[in-house]
């Protein structure tokens, strides 16, 4: 008997040693994504319809030096020299970036959004400090990348990268400079070989766009992004994919195209989205004047509403009059039987919630400190796009379509939220304790539902084979807000419809942009 238990003790000890020896490192889902090897290089993409650029050659990219010129030969020698002694770190950089530049920048952006998605802590007097782009490093750092802010950031960067790549593809086709390993067989190709001309470098175009957009969107991250830019650009030289002049021309083009988007960003009304204390008060006054219960913040101390004038931001896919046209009619009156029933329904869902409901709620919550619902849909799209072996320009186009739809959904949703200014279920019945944090803005219509309806619609167009799956995911994302007690049913069902309507504008654009 005693021996048995001693053996048992030894067994536990052995098991411990084995387990402890195992690595606990967590691998990201794309850490080992294979190098991008497009099935179609989309050589004619220079003709695709741009978002803001009036012409693909708005910004001149000078003709490159001939591949037999001394300057080019020197650039080949730079590659050959680097390839003689590549470190593990350099090889890791080549592998990382070869999975796809649009993919990697999208992932990096998601990380920035999550990093900056923290609501400011209150002042001594119970008011809240507002992040300032003029003093971005002061607490609270600029930006607070909440869902509407994030939606706009994803859209501006994705659209700028798309326009920049269309311009790049225009010059690639025009100058038709072959990749270094095609010019000189002693240059090793450490990434898949391609027939795509190498000048200007698409990686450098994307890197230049990204770092330039940081000045507007994440000014505290310029130094961090610049490091990534340098790593990516050198990885392309080390891999034999580009010579230095491909990189220089590409980064310059990316920065120039970004400047067009930054100019738009200065006048797209986002600067007025925070509003003033007087304006915040006016929402309450107006609701009371109309005999309605105004929304109020459920945080302590009460927080100013999140970007109440984001609904006036200029959309990408339609004009501001269309925003108003897309705004749905009002929800049922607050004292109607229907709303009473919906309040009871919300209460019912949070009472003894099954674990599966909790899972759905947490999976889609995308709250504080996360990449937000738009980021979640970017992650979903990226994981599916990886399997499609798109060219970088098609990757960028699809991401731009998705993110313009998400941003415009945010605009219509926010416009609706502050037009009706309706309370959350917990405001109506304080006994409704929620299964995730309650966002600090009015209830009708659900942001999650709006985002998800828009995303599923455009993604279903891009990948018809997955359309039913996207629709189901959007439905579940929308349901998650009901299950968590965050929203009424009418917020979710209407939000989903509004999102789908916004998404259909992205589909219309996709059908006409020359890429299909």
């Amino acid at each position: 008997m005693k021996n048995i238990f001693l053996s048992l003790a030894l067994l536990v000890l052995t098991a411990s040693v084995i387990l402890v020896a195992c690595s606990k490192k967590v691998e990201g889902v794309t850490d080992n994504t294979a190098a991008l090897n497009p099935t179609n290089i989309d050589l004619a993409a220079g003709n695709w319809k741009t978002v803001l650029l009036t012409r693909p050659d708005t910004f001149l990219v000078a003709a490159p030096a001939a591949t037999n010129s001394p300057a080019y030969v020197a650039e080949l020698n730079e590659i050959k020299g680097a390839q003689q002694s590549l470190t593990d770190g350099q090889r890791a950089a080549i592998k990382y970036w070869s999975a796809g530049s649009v993919l990697r920048w999208n992932e990096i952006l998601r990380g920035l959004v999550a990093k900056h998605n923290l609501p400011p802590y209150q002042n001594e007097d119970g008011s809240y400090p507002i992040p300032s782009s003029a003093n971005p490093f002061n607490y609270p750092q600029f930006p607070f990348s909440n869902p509407p802010y994030a939606a706009r950031a994803y859209a501006y960067i994705s659209a700028a990268q798309y326009d920049a790549l269309v311009a790049a593809w225009h010059y690639k086709a025009q100058y038709n400079r072959p990749a270094p390993y095609k010019v000189d067989s002693s240059v090793n190709a450490l990434v898949p070989k391609t027939a795509l001309p190498s000048y200007p470098s698409e990686d450098a175009v994307l890197a230049g766009t990204m770092v330039a957009m940081m000045s507007m969107l994440f000014p505290t991250e310029i130094a961090y992004i610049q490091q990534k830019v340098t790593e990516e650009e050198y990885s392309r030289i080390w891999s034999g994919a580009n010579v230095r002049s491909d990189i220089v021309a590409g980064e310059a083009l990316g920065r120039q195209v970004a400047s067009v988007f930054i100019a738009r960003g200065k006048v797209d009304n986002v600067g007025k989205a925070v509003g003033t204390p007087a304006q915040w008060k006016q929402f309450v006054t107006d609701a009371l004047a109309n005999g309605k219960t105004p929304w109020y913040s459920l945080e302590a101390p009460a927080r100013n509403p999140m970007l109440p004038f984001f609904g006036n931001v200029k959309p990408f896919l339609f004009d501001s009059a269309t925003v108003v046209a897309l705004r749905p009619g009002p929800p049922p009156a607050e004292n109607s039987d229907e709303m009473k029933q919906e309040t009871a329904q919300a209460k019912n869902y949070i009472t003894n919630a099954p674990r599966e409901n909790m899972r759905i709620v947490q999976f889609w919550a995308d709250g504080v400190g996360t990449y937000t619902p738009p980021g979640h849909w970017n992650a979903i799209a990226a994981s599916d796009f990886i399997t499609q072996n798109y060219s970088e320009v098609r990757w960028a186009r699809n991401m731009a379509l998705l993110n313009m739809a998400l941003m415009d959904a945010a605009i219509v949703c926010w416009n609706t939220k502050y037009y009706y200014f309706t309370p959350r279920p917990t405001q109506v019945d304080p006994n409704i304790k929620t299964l995730t944090g309650i966002p600090n803005f009015p209830s009708y219509i659900s942001g999650h539902a709006s985002f998800s309806g828009a995303a599923a619609t455009i993604l279903g167009h891009i990948l018809p084979a997955n359309a039913a799956e996207y629709t189901a995911m959007a439905q579940q994302a929308s349901d998650s807000r009901l299950l968590s007690g965050i929203h009424f049913l009418i917020d979710c069902s209407t939000g989903l419809q509004v999102g789908q309507s916004v998404g259909s504008y992205a589909v219309k654009r996709a059908q006409a942009d020359g890429a299909e």
Binding site: M1, K2, F5, L6, L8, A9, V12, L13, A15, S16, L19, V20, K24, K25, V26, E27, G28, V29, T30, E107, R110, G111, A114, K115, L118, P119, P120, Y121, Y139, L298, E299, A300, P301, I350, A353, R355, M358, R359, Q362, F363, A365, G367, V368, G369, T370, Y371, H376, A379, T426, I432, K433, T434, L435, T436, G437, I438, G485
Partner: protein, 318 residues
């Protein structure tokens, strides 16, 4: 009658932004007391911890959107004497959580089953007293699919843990000192989200759970019917990250806590085999944990399978 009951304290430890310490200590045997052969001590323990202030990284703050966070545990536990020198222990708590302010819904459920092997390889007279050394190994496993990624209101962290502890005790007359050191290996956990941010964006639903080390000192009085002791515990998470300013806590935060407490066990003279315990504790320092105040109370009873009906005559003070 002996004092060889599960003698613990749920414990003197921080309700670490929920219950990590409770996981570590409430379910483990940290004392220098053994059950006699073929005796089975079973009992129930109620413990309650609450905090209003917590450490966000190293910054101490309160949170008006949580108010006072409290948890309760109802533990069912037991110890069986395989031999005089080898005991097996188990503990299974049911836990509930609640926040007094804000809108977040509390949680409840069966938490982690822990199983321990406690071995007394060395016991000898030293000076005028008795020195003993114990080697204790344990495993704890979540018994339900409760949610870990819902701090500070999740009922636990849902990792599978393996613990190894060395415990040394010296008793002189009725006074004793016990010191112990524990290393806890924690398995990675899977959460419901597909991505999260630590100090970087992680695109995975797996979370690397850093290991934990604890040290404990117990000093007190130990006689056949009464044990009264003071306890100091220090816990360090070997890795992990700080909660960012105004962010929510996360299971792989660097949770450290130093706590002090007292513990009393009284074994009834009139009812053979029955004992009562009670205690309290307070977190004096911490990082990414709540500054918890806690108390506990429990009842234990010894079942004797020796067949003779005599209850552990050899339960010498260890």
């Amino acid at each position: 009658m002996n004092k060889n009951i599960i003698n613990r304290f749920a414990i003197a430890c921080a309700l670490v932004l929920t219950l990590i310490v409770a996981q570590l200590h409430a379910q483990t045997d940290e004392d220098a007391i053994m059950m006699a052969k073929k005796q089975f001590c079973i009992g129930g323990m109620y413990s309650r911890g609450s905090w209003k202030n917590y450490w966000e990284g190293t910054l101490k703050r309160n949170n008006l959107n949580l108010g006072t966070v409290s948890n309760q545990m109802f533990g069912f536990m037991g110890t069986y004497g395989v031999t005089e020198k080898l005991n097996l222990l188990f503990n299974l708590p049911y836990a509930t959580t609640n926040a007094s302010a804000g809108t977040l819904h509390g949680q409840q459920g069966l938490q982690d089953l822990s199983l321990w092997v406690k071995w007394l390889p060395l016991e000898k007279d030293l000076g005028n007293g008795t020195f003993s050394a114990y080697i204790i190994g344990g495993v704890s496993l979540p018994t339900t699919n409760y949610i870990a990624d819902y701090l500070p209101l999740s009922i636990g962290l849902h990792s599978t843990n393996l613990s190894g502890r060395l415990l040394l005790d010296y008793q002189l007359g009725n006074f004793f000192t016990t010191v112990s050191g524990t290393y806890v290996y924690r398995n990675n956990i899977t959460i419901d989200r597909s991505a999260y941010y630590t100090t970087e964006q992680i695109n995975s639903n797996k979370v690397n759970m850093p290991d934990v080390a604890t040290e404990q000192l117990r000093i007190g009085y130990r006689s056949s019917h009464l044990i009264a002791e003071a306890i100091a515990t220090n816990m360090n998470t070997l890795g992990g990250f700080d909660i960012r300013r105004n962010d929510m806590p996360f299971p792989s935060n660097k949770m450290n806590a130093t706590s002090v407490g007292v513990n009393v066990k009284y074994t009834l003279k009139k009812v053979e085999g029955l004992s009562l315990i009670g205690g309290g504790g307070y977190t004096v320092a911490g990082r990414n944990v709540g500054q918890s105040t806690m108390f506990n109370a429990g009842v234990f009873y010894i079942l004797d399978f020796n067949g003779s009906g005599k209850k552990s005559s050899n339960a010498a003070n260890k």
